[in-house]
């Protein structure tokens, strides 16, 4: 069930302050996600999708990452203006996150039980009953960790990747957050384990009704899991819409190329895509459409003027793309 918008990102701009100058890794990005909804963010590595997630969590790489503009509204409260202490309280309890590589994201020196307990302890908003260890076991059961009573005492190195990622999932939902951000959570897992994990995420979402942002470069997953998606390129959103609309009528040449390069649903495509060239270096001064150098349809307009999002594609207000050429196929 899709409900009210929970998280709204408006004109977010994030820079990495490197020696060569500020790098606009997230450039004027806006989107929202509602309770019970799953939003996919798609793009090649370096397109800004992870930086968008880190901006929302306010855990950008220090000291170089900085939000330089825009708003991030969590149930109407702007996170950009929150103090570090306020954000610490929000993280984990109202915003949860699952990281990419389960093999490195758990602390090797603590038992998984203690890591879940730590999350339960700091994020407890309702004072749920039961002792912390008992609740940790319950959390592990919730994410389908078999033999949870024994596994709480295990260390990360004694578990498989899929199992560890379940623990990370348990930590992420321990505070019953409004929004959960999953940053390529299945990339490091085997294919069969991937499917189980995605199912688990869907079940949890159905049960808790939280909003989910799912970051991936795998369009197969998006097709199965997400309601809407945004496609990012060089720090900007180039297309967004419902999964059905975008898959049926991709309106940006980049989206089109992404879709063409997916051989079959659920096949992971790692080093993308049948598109020549590489994403632009963000240090280069950008004139015109960022995708123009790789775009088969680009003309002088594309190379000199940046396109702005045009709504109303597919006969719906939600499907938009930033491209001068979107009439071409239609």
């Amino acid at each position: 069930m899709i409900g009210e918008p929970v998280l709204e990102v408006r004109n977010l701009k994030t820079h990495l302050m490197v020696k060569a100058g500020p790098l606009p890794v997230v450039d004027d990005v806006s989107f929202s996600v509602s309770a019970g909804e799953t939003l996919g963010i798609v793009g090649e590595s370096g397109c800004g999708k992870s930086m968008t997630a880190l901006s929302i969590m306010r855990v950008l790489p220090r000291p170089i990452g900085r939000i330089v503009g825009g708003e991030i509204l969590l149930r109407g409260e702007d996170l950009v203006s929150k103090s570090e202490a306020e954000m610490t309280a929000i993280r984990g309890s109202r915003l949860g996150m699952i990281l990419q590589d389960p093999h490195t994201s758990l602390n090797p020196l603590h038992t998984v039980g203690n890591q879940v307990i730590e999350a339960l302890r700091i994020n407890d908003r309702r004072g749920a009953g039961g002792s912390l260890p008992a609740r940790a076991v319950a959390m592990l059961k919730k994410v389908n960790v078999a033999d949870a009573e024994r596994r709480v005492h295990a260390y990360p190195h004694q578990m498989s990747g899929g199992m560890k990622q379940r623990v990370v999932g348990a930590i992420a939902i321990s505070g019953a957050p409004d929004v959960i951000i999953a940053d390529e959570p299945t990339t490091a897992l085997d294919v069969t384990i991937q499917l189980q994990y995605l199912q688990l995420l869907q079940e949890i979402q159905a049960e808790t009704g939280m909003a989910m942002i799912f970051i991936t470069h795998d369009l197969g997953i998006v097709a199965n899991l997400c309601h809407r998606l945004i496609v990012m390129y060089a720090g900007r959103i180039v297309e967004e819409g419902t999964v059905r609309d975008v898959f049926k009528a991709p309106s940006h040449p980049y989206t089109e190329a992404l879709l063409n390069s997916v051989p079959a649903v659920n096949r992971k495509v790692d080093r993308l895509y049948a598109i020549d060239g590489q994403p632009p270096k963000l240090t280069q001064t950008r004139v015109g459409c960022s995708f123009a150098p790789r775009c088969p349809y680009a003309d002088d307009t594309c190379r000199s003027l940046a396109p702005s999002p045009s709504p109303g594609l597919s006969g719906s207000g939600d499907h938009r793309a930033s491209c001068w050429k979107q009439e071409r196929g239609a």
Binding site: T88, A89, R91, G92, L106, N107, I122, A172
Partner: protein, 307 residues
């Protein structure tokens, strides 16, 4: 874990064996111990007597095994300078003073270096980081004996805050302990800082952050506990260099420990005493390293679960 500890213990024993071999070769190959033991005007009869008494007329490997046997029992012969005592007794008498001073120096090193290294890493590029790197550079470049003298001159002679030298209470220990700790502070700060920098970049730190752990708990509970493995492995070396440092610092401050004893023994050509100081220090050093290995296994479950 049992296998890990057994391996490390055997390695320590092997090192000890090599050290005894070196000490033995030194005493028997680079010059006859007879020369060291007897006055220069000794008669041939005296020399022959002592040669027989010490078993020096027997084959080398037999001598070595005798030496090993005696060493295992803590018997390194009688002191030639401090008549009437065995060399081991003379050394054991002085060990407490060395351990007091070394213990205080160790405490100072850890208390200063660990927080400094952690803060320097957490606030990389800040003024505290700059201070830490200056200390690291100066630590490598200042000779400890000279630093000891300068401290003595400034804080004891000019300011009169501490006694200049000699044995006594804590006030007597402050200056020598600082001089001894100085190099260790530099080394430990540098190690802690680089280990922390590496750990702070780890994914599990990011996860701790996104699950809402406070900054202080991230730094100490999550990052430091992982980074600590590096300075802890260094503690073995630290204990060893504090011991050898004691030779230098005790000489500077006339602190009557085993280090000063060794220097006095050299001046008095008392080889049994020098030899037992060397062996005591070596055993202590290997023991410290062995304990560090165990500690390492206790902290890190990945090592604990090996084999």
């Amino acid at each position: 874990m049992a296998r890990f500890i057994t391996t490390r213990f055997l390695q320590a024993l092997l090192s000890l064996l090599v050290i005894t071999l070196i000490v033995f070769s030194l005493s028997h190959l680079t010059g006859s111990p007879i020369d060291a033991l007897l006055p220069d005007d000794a008669t041939q009869a005296q020399i022959d007597n002592l040669t027989r008494e010490l078993g020096l007329d027997r084959p080398l490997h037999v001598q070595y095994f005798t030496f090993l046997q005696n060493a295992a029992l803590g018997d390194f012969g009688d002191s030639t300078k401090w008549k009437g005592s065995s060399a081991a007794e003379v050394v054991i008498d002085r060990l407490p003073a060395t351990l007091q001073l070394g213990g205080l120096a160790l405490l100072i090193s850890v208390v200063v270096a660990i927080p400094l290294g952690v803060v320097a890493a957490v606030r990389k590029g800040s003024s505290i980081d700059a201070v830490a790197s200056v200390i690291a550079l100066l630590g490598q470049s200042l000779p400890a004996f000279w630093l000891g003298l300068v401290l003595m001159w400034v804080f004891a002679v000019i300011l009169g805050w501490f006694p200049t030298s000699g044995y006594g209470g804590v006030t007597h220990m402050v200056l020598p302990a600082i001089a001894m700790a100085w190099f260790q502070i530099a080394a430990l700060t540098r190690l802690t800082r680089s280990a922390m920098l590496e750990v702070l970049d780890a994914e599990y730190i990011k996860l701790a952050r996104v699950k809402g752990v406070s900054e202080r708990a991230i730094v100490w509970r999550h990052a430091f506990s992982n980074a600590a493995i590096v300075p802890i492995t260094y503690f073995g070396v630290l204990a060893g260099s504090l011991l050898t440092g004691s030779v230098v610092i005790e000489t500077v401050f006339a602190w009557p420990g085993a280090g000063l004893l060794a220097i006095d023994a050299i001046r008095g050509r008392d080889f049994p005493v020098v030899q037992s100081v060397v062996m005591f220090f070596a055993v202590f050093f290997l023991l410290a390293n062995f304990l560090v290995d165990i500690l390492y296994a206790v902290i890190d479950p990945r090592i604990r679960h090996q084999g």
